[in-house]
């Protein structure tokens, strides 16, 4: 029971962490709580289903590994385009406006995206095609056979420390960890990453030394939304959770934001740690205290953290920007 809840928590936490990264990166630079970020995640999940429908209409049964290779990047690109357009239309013109205007604009965008998807795709749940999900699971089992001892494998997943984990769950956790490692390398090793860190510290100074701040902000939105899209695609492919609907982004967006605050908002490793910690706490509390209140725990944690240690787990004291 404990191990099972722990694994579920890690799975949930990996999704929270992916989404929280987008919140934290945008907040780090713009000091904006990007309310539309949950909707970006929702668009990611829809993109997966729509692109899949497009691909299957071109080729009746495309090979699974090919699908897997192409579906994730394509959905990420489509979602990132949405986020970049949103940034250009709703946020960039407000660069010098008070922060309240930005937040209202973000709430407006969030409303817009929810209704846009509801009107174009209908209010009913969408589900990832069953047969493709099955093929994906089969293919994953072939791949994972090479890495895990045969006694831990079952037809649908594997047994770890007495807990069950399906292949898609494992894929979710692994891909989110890989994406986070890539992000960390990007931030630490590339010139753009360095510019992003610099912009988060001091926008005006960056302008002085010739960094194109608008471009950096766009890149930030693109990266953050790609990660959220990846979370959306992975959850859509997971039939256990995979009901895709137009308001799916709202509550998970709030929780991911909680994760970002928990880890210290503006702090990238903090968001990852915060995501996993939040996922594990929530899952354990749902298992051992009461599952009815599983959505409440996140907010109780949020308020407690803000009152006791507002800088979060890994955040350092930031002086209030004037």
């Amino acid at each position: 029971m404990f191990q099972q809840q722990l694994l579920n928590g890690i799975l949930l936490g990996s999704l929270y962490a992916l989404i929280a990264l987008g919140y934290t990166m945008v907040y780090g630079i713009l000091e904006l709580i990007n309310f539309a970020h949950g909707e970006i995640y929702m668009i990611g999940a829809y993109s997966a289903i729509l692109i899949l429908a497009l691909l299957t209409s071109v080729h009746s049964s495309p090979p699974v590994f090919f699908l897997f290779l192409i579906l994730l990047p394509l959905s990420m690109i489509l979602t990132a385009s949405y986020a970049a357009t949103m940034e250009r239309i709703a946020y960039r013109p407000l660069r010098n406006a008070p922060r309240l205007s930005l937040i209202i604009s973000a709430i407006g965008m969030s409303l817009f995206f929810q209704n846009y998807v509801m009107l174009t795709q209908g209010a009913r749940d969408k589900v990832f095609p069953q047969d493709i999900a099955k093929d994906l699971s089969l293919w994953l089992s072939e791949v994972f056979q090479k890495f895990f001892p045969p006694e831990s494998l079952t037809p649908t997943g594997l047994t770890l420390f007495g807990a069950q984990l399906s292949f898609v769950d494992l894929l979710t956790i692994l891909s989110s960890i890989i994406l986070m490692v890539i992000l960390q390398l990007f931030i630490k090793r590339t010139k753009t990453g360095k510019a992003m860190r610099a912009t988060a510290q001091d926008v005006n100074m960056c302008k002085l030394v010739g960094i194109d701040v608008d471009r950096i902000i766009r890149v930030t939105f693109i990266i953050g939304s790609s990660l959220a899209a990846a979370a959306g695609v992975l959850i859509a492919a997971n039939l256990k959770y995979g009901r895709v609907h137009y308001f799916m982004g709202w509550i998970i967006g709030l929780k991911a934001f909680t994760a970002a605050v928990l880890g210290g908002i503006g702090n990238i490793p903090g968001a990852m740690v915060g995501g996993f910690v939040l996922g594990i706490i929530e899952s354990l509390a749902a298992g051992f205290i009461s599952s009815e209140y599983k959505d409440v725990y996140a907010f109780v944690i949020l308020i407690t953290v803000l009152i006791i240690k507002p800088t979060g787990l890994l955040g350092e004291r930031v002086p209030e920007k004037m």
Binding site: E31, I33, Y46, S47, L50, I51, L54, L78, S81, Y82, T85, I89, A90, P93, L94, A97, P98, R99, L100, S101, L102, I103, I104, S105, I107, G108, M109, S110, L111, F112, F113, Q114, N115, Y116, V117, L119, T120, Q121, W250, L254, F257, T258, V261, E292, Y293, D295, V296, F299, V300, L302, I303, L306, I307, P310, E320
Partner: protein, 375 residues
Amino acid sequence: MKRFSWILWPIWMGLLTLPFMRIRGSLFVFIALTLGILLAKVIVPFIKSLEISSLFNLKSSITNLKSQITLHRLPFKIGIVLLLLFLPPFINRYHMDVITTAGIYVLLALGLNIVVGFTGLLVLGYIAFYAIGAYTYALLNTHYSIPFFLALPIGGFTAYLFGFLLGSPVLRLRGDYLAIVTLGFGEITRLVLNNWDEVTRGPNGIAEISRPVIFGFTFREPLHYYYLILILVLLTIFVTVRLTRSRIGRAWEAIREDERAASSMGIHVTAMKLLAFAISAAFAGVAGVFFAAKQTHISPESFTFWESALVLSMVVLGGMGSIPGVVTGALTLIIFPEILRGFEDYRMLLFGVGMVLMMRFRPQGFLPPKRRTIR
């Protein structure tokens, strides 16, 4: 080349909407945007060329009208009140119901304005206090049959208490954190109402709440509620105006303008913020009691984050810190969608777009507050 770069926008939007709207939908987006931009390209220079002659007159006549209104402020206000008093015979029950709903939102927006507009603190879970007021009345009434007019102050006071308890640890934090904590509080309130079945009866909500009764007279018609909310709104406006002109109101404004300066002038910043927060919660509590009495049936789904966002947009679109502005904002956001009933499905979409556009082109709101200054 640069002259035609605008054509990239419709192409980009068309491509972006292609997976979601299919070929026909995205073609529609493309054509509509192209036409829209072309039209704007023609019309905007046209208006600009006109500006020197006719628009100038229009502008001056608007300022003229404004000064007329300010000059005859009192008669103007009395006129509006009289209009509202004698309106009911000329409108039907449905219109009265819409106006009553708008009145509830005016109460909420005025309350939120105290904390967002006057004191400059962002609160995102305001609807929680509305829910607390509504459930206070619903529970007291169904269990102990407390009448409406007694519950009105009790509901307000309960919300005040919750505001005080939430505010005292939280208001010492930086601005953004307050927004997040109140957002979390709003969600917790809704989730608890939804799950605490023994007390709140969960998602089904509480039914059969008594209507207001005074001296044996029961409020049941939309007309009765219309006058009741009118009185409440006028009372609230009066209280708010008096508050802003008091020592407390001036302290709030000072905090909004510059916290450090206010503090060095001897204002107890945290205490004043706490007062603003709790008073604004009390307003929401009163509105909640009225809501429960009007609906006679309440459930947690009336108290979602979108309601908080709606009230916040009323305050921001109307003009933060301006009482006529906030009232206008609330009336617009409730009555305008009712006019748009034909576009029912597209309402919220347009609402979202409207919020973004408003922030882009007129962030100070419809009627920004006039500063009382000495120059």
